[in-house]
């Protein structure tokens, strides 16, 4: 019997852990096993017919995600071919200058935002749970929502080129070109990609929580697969890299839609702020793309070398170190903007320093290969190609990191060559290696060895034929992004070679794509562990089952399939944890962060339409403003909120039917968690860290204008109303205190008082929002960047205030309708956490609007 006086989130696991050898040897009777399998099969059944698209399981969503990103990549590749055709001869008139601008802008944007980053998320959603012996990711519906958002946003952005309405100011959208650009191209870029960035952050939250909390019992941080380490690092990087771009997009779109002059120097703005915000995102992004791809290499190399990886800690150092250092590189994209030389020096130095951790992991791979007995499988061939090409790109990287050299080659084809070497070597080749390696895992079929080798040699040689000459083209002075060039500069033949090479690459991709989609019905059933790997994903069942793992194992080694001899047999027989689903619910085990001790049974969500609706309405909220349709956009946003609330209310943090559940091997785990024990709390914490970063970018903007502008705020400028700002800040602080108080009161059983606090708090929040709005009413945001910045801060805090109010009311409703009780209070913990951040945001906003400008 559980003690009803303890809050459900505070119940401790009971029973025996870790399991003894004797317990693991105990056989499971056949009829029990069959009943369990039946239960599991029912719980994890994939919906059929047209309901198939309501699936949220990582094995479905991951495949859709991967294939969608791949299709976007092929489309962006065709754009590159068109550009190469245009550059085939001098003075060519195949494509107009305007269309050429659209093509290179979309090629870069699509490859970065619709292929490279989503591909990381897609592959991780697909394979991370299997690495960790988990049944699914902690928030399957969030993955599905992210996918649908990505699909809608991606089609919107890439489809614009069919109407000749695509963005055309280059993939980094520099103002003033992009701000004065007529047409809706820039808006499509800003709003469409912001929408997709939201999906990226959702995926980052999912993956970080997955790697931290959904590991199998016993898998401590020092034995988790290196891929999980990389996912952690990259997830963290996304949280600090994407928000500055979102803040930048926010300012940029305000300028495009309402003429607030953030980047217009005639009214105090500064285009350099965009460059900073863009590249604070843009450079780490290169590593966000590179690290997870090289993580695939970290999984393949030990398998082909038939030995554990050498230098596990060194690779962890490499991933974490690169993650940090990559944030100190952004100005090396801005060496020619006239910043003080000493500032350039810092970034130049950091750009050289990042080579150390980046190089270490490559040496660790090579060392592992030397120490092992290498079997040159197809995936290894692609990894070898990756190492060769990436090293070449790294070497030119060291060159362009030196400012004076960069001044010579900035914006020439040398840069085009450099970045394609790093991205093909650092991303495309390892990802294709991963596709060959993991295909038997996620499709239960093998890809063709013969086609794979053809594809490799076509892409590898074609790539070098295309991009190696470009170094010279650039050194001879051909700038990037020109739609044509005059005869007689000595670059005609180089361009022709590149064009020929690009079609060889395309042929290679055609072979690869055919290999993936060709029918494989007649192929014999594959071996279970075709590469003889040591990591947990190869315990997958053949033929395919949808439950992930039959039972969740106890892991004590980095290569459990090599080191724990009876593991797979025991997993299959259901001798480990959670071998059953008697309640018919989808479940997985949540473990502690460092030592992976089992702490909870997490019920995960199943198929639903609501995620599709939520994504569609969120899409409307982002896409309609592109066409300056604001009314319906607001309605769409409201519907999105309703959908998300319905989704949360019906399927998250519901009081369970029983507090403790027997998970097998003599262990009982709680079925409910609140506060730092709960995966939901971690998700809120991680999301808000990203949100705080975006807000910090806005605050950075204020100080940036102060340093870059001789008069910020301009002399005699009107400030925001000080009294109103002070009162609003106080109102927010009081709303925060009431929310926090409600949590304590509710826990203490004083439900009436807690409800009172939760009813009063939204009123105070509304008052605070109203006060902030009124405080800037007298300022004209279109007149100068200073009032515009004050308005932007106000919009930010009010938007968050609306969310905060909804959350308070959600908890109030939860309390009134029995979803939230003194024993089951996870929602209130999460909302309080949100409010800690919102309280701080309001406090800083108050200071930025009321105090700081008066001191500047």
């Amino acid at each position: 019997m559980t003690d009803r006086s303890i809050p459900a989130g505070d119940l401790a696991p009971r029973g025996i852990y870790p399991p003894t050898e004797k317990m693991l040897n105990e056989p499971v009777p056949r009829e029990v096993r069959e009943r369990q399998e039946e239960n599991l099969r029912r719980a994890w059944k994939t919906p059929e017919g047209w309901r198939y698209w309501t699936a949220v399981n990582n094995s479905e969503v991951g495949v859709w995600y991967t294939m969608t990103a791949f299709v976007f990549m092929l489309i962006a590749g065709v754009m590159a071919l068109l550009m190469r055709l245009q550059l085939w001869v001098p003075e060519n008139d195949l494509i107009s200058a305007d269309m050429f601008n659209q093509l290179f802008t979309m090629h870069g944007s699509a490859m970065m935002f619709l292929f490279a980053v989503p591909m990381f998320e897609a592959i991780s959603i697909l394979i991370l749970p299997a690495f960790l012996g988990a049944r699914d990711m902690p928030f399957p519906r969030l993955s599905a929502y992210g996918y649908w958002a990505f699909l809608i946003g991606g089609i919107f952005v890439i489809g614009s080129i069919l109407f000749s309405a695509a963005p055309k100011a280059g993939w980094f959208m520099y103002p003033p070109l992009a701000t004065i650009e007529l047409g809706i191209g820039s808006d499509i870029w800003l709003l469409g990609l912001s929408f997709i960035e939201v999906a990226s952050i959702a995926a980052a939250v999912e993956l970080i929580v997955g790697a931290l909390k959904c590991r199998p019992p016993g898998m401590r941080v020092n034995v988790m697969p290196l891929y999980a380490w990389y996912v952690l690092v990259v997830g963290g990087m996304i949280l600090f890299a994407f928000p500055p771009l979102i803040a930048g997009d926010f300012l940029f779109e305000l300028e495009r839609s309402f003429d607030w002059p953030f980047f217009d120097h005639t009214r105090g703005g500064d285009p350099m702020l965009w460059q900073h915000l863009f590249w604070i995102f843009g450079h780490p992004e290169v590593y966000i793309i590179f690290l997870p791809s090289i993580a695939i290499a970290a999984m393949i190399v030990p398998t082909v070398a038939r030995r554990p990886i050498l230098g596990y800690s060194w690779i962890v150092l490499s991933a974490v170190g690169t993650g940090f250092l990559s944030f100190g590189l952004w100005v090396h994209h801005m060496f020619t903007t006239g910043l003080p030389n000493m500032s350039l020096g810092f970034f130049s130095a950091a750009s050289e320093a990042v080579v150390i951790p980046t190089g270490i992991q490559l040496f660790a791979f090579v060392a592992t290969l030397i120490a092992g007995k290498v079997v040159m499988t197809l995936p290894m061939l692609w990894i070898a190609g990756a190492l060769a090409i990436f090293t070449a790109g790294g070497l030119t990287g060291v060159m362009v990191a030196i400012a004076p050299f960069d001044w010579q080659v900035h914006d020439t084809y040398f840069i085009v060559a450099h970045l394609h070497y790093t991205l093909f070597g650092g991303m495309v080749f390892p990802v294709i290696a991963g596709v060959y390696y993991f295909f038997p895992f996620f499709r239960k079929k093998m890809l063709s060895e013969r086609l794979g080798r053809w594809s490799f040699w076509l892409i590898f040689t074609g790539f070098n034929i295309t991009f190696l000459p470009m170094h010279l083209t650039g050194l001879l002075g051909m700038p990037r992004r020109v739609y044509t060039y005059p005869e007689g500069l000595g670059i005609d033949w180089l361009n022709q070679i590149s064009t020929v090479g690009s079609f060889i690459v395309a042929a290679g991709f055609a072979v690869f794509a055919w290999d993936i989609v060709r029918p494989k019905k007649d192929q014999p059933q594959i071996e279970r562990n075709p590469w003889g790997a040591g990591t947990l994903e190869w315990s997958h069942e053949i033929p395919e089952t949808k439950w992930g793992v039959r039972s969740i194992p106890h892991i004590t080694s980095r290569y459990p399939l090599w080191d724990q001899p009876k593991l797979v047999e025991r997993m299959d027989q259901g001798r480990y944890y959670l071998p059953d689903a008697e309640e018919g619910l989808r479940e997985t085990i949540v473990t502690s962060v460092i030592d992976a001790r089992p702490i909870q049974v997490q019920r995960v969500t199943g198929p639903a339409y609501i995620t599709i609706w939520a994504a569609a309405f969120t899409g409307g909220a982002f896409i309609l403003p592109t066409f300056h349709i604001y009314g319906p956009a607001i309605v769409s946003a409201a519907f999105a909120v309703v959908c998300i609330l319905y989704w949360l209310w019906t399927s998250t943090a519901r009081p369970p039917e029983k507090d403790m559940k027997d998970v097998g091997l003599g262990l009982s785990l709680p079925t409910y968690a609140a506060g730092p024990q709960a995966v939901g709390w971690w998700a809120v914490w991680i999301t808000m860290l990203g949100d705080a970063t975006a807000f910090a970018s806005l605050v950075f903007g204020v100080f940036f204008y102060w340093t870059s502008n001789t008069a910020f705020p301009p002399p005699g400028a009107e400030h925001a109303n000080g009294y109103l700002v002070a009162l609003s800040t106080a109102a927010f602080a009081a709303a925060w205190a009431l929310t926090r108080g409600a949590r304590g009161l509710n826990r203490a059983g004083r439900v009436g008082l807690a409800r009172g606090a939760l009813a009063l708090a939204p009123l105070l929040t509304l008052a605070g929002m109203g006060g902030f709005i009124l405080s800037v009413m007298d300022l004209d945001p279109a007149s100068h960047v200073y009032p515009a910045m004050m308005w932007a801060l106000m919009v930010w805090v009010v938007a968050h205030g609306i969310v905060g109010t909804i959350m308070q009311l959600y908890c109030l409703a939860g309390s009134l309708f029995g979803k939230l009780t003194p024993r089951y209070d996870a929602d209130l913990w999460n909302v309080t956490l949100f409010w800690h951040f919102l309280g701080l945001t309001a406090l800083v906003t108050g200071a930025m609007m009321g105090i700081v400008p008066r001191l500047m």
Binding site: D10, L11, A12, P13, R14, Y17, P18, G218, M219, R220, V221, N222, V223, P308, L310, G311, Y312, S313, W314, V316, L317, V320, G321, F324, L325, F327, G328, L339, P340, N341, M342, S343, L344, G345, F346, F347, S348, A349, A350, E352, A353, I356, P357, I555, T556, S557, R558, S592, V593, I594, D595, R597, I599, P676, Q677, T707, S708
Partner: protein, 140 residues
Amino acid sequence: MERSDQDRPSHPREDEHEFAEERESLWRITLGPTIWAFHFLISYAAVSVYCFKFERMFSMGVLRIALIAMTVAMLAAIAWIGWRAFLRWDVRDTGEFSNPEGSAEDRHQFLGHAGFLLALVSFIGVVYDTLPLIILGTCR
């Protein structure tokens, strides 16, 4: 010295309890790079603000000396962190360079090793980022 926690009963607040036990090492593995980040940020911000706002008020030499003094302090801090992590790694006593097993002791030493290596890389990073302060003398 065998440090086994295999048999201890589950703690009701498992995560907080574990963090308390291993808080120092977990914190330490990112502490070195965090110091690097602060060093980088402070140097860059100070030079930018100086060059745009205060170039006429005082000479760059003052700023450079202040920043180099900060560098020395930060390098000392990283070195100390690295040394503590090295002790945790305990390679001289155990002779184990890699800690691939699933025991609490291995996890403990692994975190020490990772922290030590990260301190090393952060130290080099800070030295690199100080070179412009030593080599260049003006804003232009």
